[in-house]
């Protein structure tokens, strides 16, 4: 374990550091942010200065503060939705493989149906009726994303389920719960973990898009998508405040991808795969 940790490639190390930095900032946002979230501290769209590192936003709030709090919301919701979608999607997929028969058919056809409608459109349809609270957003995003996790986990679990050691466990008289948690899960973990990173990024993009359309996070809270929306009018006058979230999203996406790549290469090499 320590030897593999010592061999972390530089790219993964950079990815890990930046990802960890974002999470630390998200957790300690109120301590780090120089001003309050809704505090009007300057003129409209002031340029970057010593007082306001990124300048001010469309009504004179400190942009750095908004970005820190916005990142907190974005990262918190994306993390919660990813965890929920992974738990639901993979547990249902493993159950579908182990139970098989009608349960498998029912679940898989249902997933096909949900995936036949574009996710964004489906989310818009739901959000036209249900008010966009944080809980609703997490549930909707997790529900739509769980279908993709289900497909991946099912195909992974299916190839594991025909292995000899599963047969041995069944002959030994192990219960379904044991087979899922002790035999399938450890072997399915490596592709799932690297997918976890990609799904997390997808959630960040998804939430930002919803908030940008004005259907995600509602004021007075904010997130990266909402910051773009609030400041988009300034672009026409050559004020680049709306582009600040772009850099945040891009660096987060790339760092998480670097980590995911490393995890995938690590686990495949452990299994004797190609380095």
């Amino acid at each position: 374990m320590i030897r593999t940790l010592r061999k972390i490639p530089a790219s993964a190390l950079i990815g890990l550091t930046i990802t960890a930095l974002y999470f630390v900032i998200a957790v300690f946002a109120p301590l780090i942010a120089p001003y309050g979230l809704g505090e009007v501290v300057g003129k409209v769209w002031e340029p970057a200065s010593e007082k306001f590192w990124l300048g001010t936003d469309n009504i004179g709030r400190d942009l750095l503060t908004r970005m820190i709090y916005g990142g907190r919301t974005t990262i918190f919701i994306a993390t919660a939705a990813t965890i929920l979608s992974f738990t639901v999607g993979s547990v249902l997929a493993f159950m579908a493989v182990v139970i098989g028969g009608w349960f498998d058919v029912l679940m898989s056809r249902f997933v096909d149906l949900i995936m036949a409608i574009p996710g964004l459109i489906f989310a818009l349809v739901i959000l036209s009726v249900v008010p966009a609270s944080i809980t609703v957003l997490i549930m909707v995003m997790a529900f739509l994303d769980a279908t993709r996790v289900y497909r991946l986990s099912r195909s992974v679990a299916e190839s594991i389920y025909v292995m000899d050691y599963i047969e041995v466990a069944k002959l030994r008289g192990e219960k379904t719960g044991w087979i899922v948690t002790r035999e399938i899960l450890p072997n399915a973990l490596s592709p799932l973990v690297s997918e976890l990173g990609l799904r997390f990024i997808f959630m960040v993009l998804y939430l930002s898009t919803l908030s940008f359309l004005g259907l995600g996070i509602q004021p007075p809270s904010t997130d990266w998508g909402a910051i773009v929306k609030e400041n988009s009018d300034g672009l026409v006058y050559g004020i680049p405040a709306a582009l600040a979230p772009a850099i945040a999203i891009a660096t987060l996406a790339i760092s998480v991808n670097l980590v995911a790549d490393w995890v995938l290469s690590l686990t495949t090499s452990l299994k004797g795969g190609r380095q």
Binding site: D112, L113, I114, A116, I117, P118, G119, L120, I121, F122, L124, V125, I126, L127, S128, V129, V130, P131, I201, L205, S208, T209, F212, L213, G214, L215, G225, V228, S232, L235, V236, Y237, G238, P240, A242, L243, P245, A246, I249, A250, A253, I254, N257
Partner: protein, 315 residues
């Protein structure tokens, strides 16, 4: 093969029907009172009751579903709650605008993606390949609306080549219209290109591992000859599939890009009415987006079946 085609077609039809059910269930059964949402928290119970009566919300869900689907089959999508306008008429005008935008994005991105895909296979693991994959990775890591604002900031605000918003009307000539939609088309091309090019590259690389490619290389053909003469014909089926899948993806991209550039199309219509909680409009527009998506996906599968020689000439 005919059996396969019919199977796939009927699956597409079933998905269409199922998507009407899903959209209806999504807006009707979920907790959340549409009347309350429209009138706000301070509405009196009488006003709520009147509105529910007017919208037919007191009828059983099944009755409402069948009258809605019956209307769609007759081309009647109902009227908008917010302004009482006929939805079919509003959509007809906007759908044309959206298709116009998507058409030009597709015309530019498809040949470009295939050329770039071939180029990156030809120069695999050398700098052109690495450059192309770095750029496409960057565009995939950013949401569409941010790419949109980047392009707007650079081309419309800093360079002042084209207007920053894409307002079009029927009185404009084709050239004026094309000038107006230049920015959204560029953004859509970027977004779709990345996916399409990566998948094209993967499809050709897959073929490049076959034995006949090695034979072609051994008999002394150049890299370009091998790719164009031997790999490409065999990769056409997967590439066509990739193109169709990405056109389906374009359907979703269009929603966001239209909002960024204030383009009067279906996407903006849908988003506007979601925030106004105008359920009949959302149902109608959502259904149209879903149908186009399902149609393109079905078409992709049908083409894949037809273009596969093993399925075309069964033993």
């Amino acid at each position: 093969m005919l059996k396969l085609l019919i199977q796939r077609l009927s699956l597409g039809l079933m998905l269409l029907v199922a998507s009407t059910v899903l959209i209806f269930v999504g807006t009707s059964i979920l907790p959340g009172d549409v009347a309350q949402a429209i009138l706000g928290q301070s509405a009196t119970p009488e006003a709520l009751e009147n509105l529910r009566q007017e919208m037919g919300l007191n009828d059983p869900a099944l009755t409402r579903y069948f009258s809605w689907v019956g209307g769609i089959l007759h081309g009647d999508l109902g009227t908008a709650l917010t302004n009482g306008a006929d939805i079919s008429a509003s959509i007809a005008r906007r759908l044309g605008n959206t298709l116009f935008l998507a058409f030009w994005a597709a015309i530019i991105s498809v040949p470009l993606a295939i050329t770039l895909g071939i180029l990156s296979v030809r120069f695999r693991n050398r700098w052109p390949d690495k450059l192309i994959s770095a750029v496409t990775l960057a565009t995939i890591s950013l949401p569409e609306f941010i790419i949109g604002y980047f392009v707007m900031f650079l081309i419309a605000v800093k360079l002042r080549w084209v207007p920053s918003v894409s307002l079009i009307n029927d009185g404009m000539s084709l050239a004026e219209k094309l000038n107006a939609i230049a920015l959204p088309v560029i953004v859509l091309v970027f977004v779709v290109l990345a996916h399409m090019m990566r998948m094209t590259r993967a499809a050709i690389l897959n073929v490049m591992e076959s034995a006949y490619i090695e034979t072609a290389e051994l008999k002394g053909l150049t890299g370009a000859q091998v790719i164009v003469g031997h790999a490409l014909p065999n990769a056409i089926a997967p590439i066509v599939n990739v193109v169709m899948l990405n056109l389906a993806y374009l359907v979703v991209g269009v929603v966001v890009v239209e909002v960024v550039f204030v383009y009067p199309g279906m996407g903006q219509y849908l988003v506007d009415h979601v925030s106004k909680r105008d359920v009949p409009v959302v149902q109608a527009a959502g259904l149209i987006f879903a149908s186009v998506y399902i149609l393109l996906n079905t078409a992709a599968d049908l083409i894949a079946i037809v273009s596969n020689p093993r399925l075309r000439h069964p033993k």
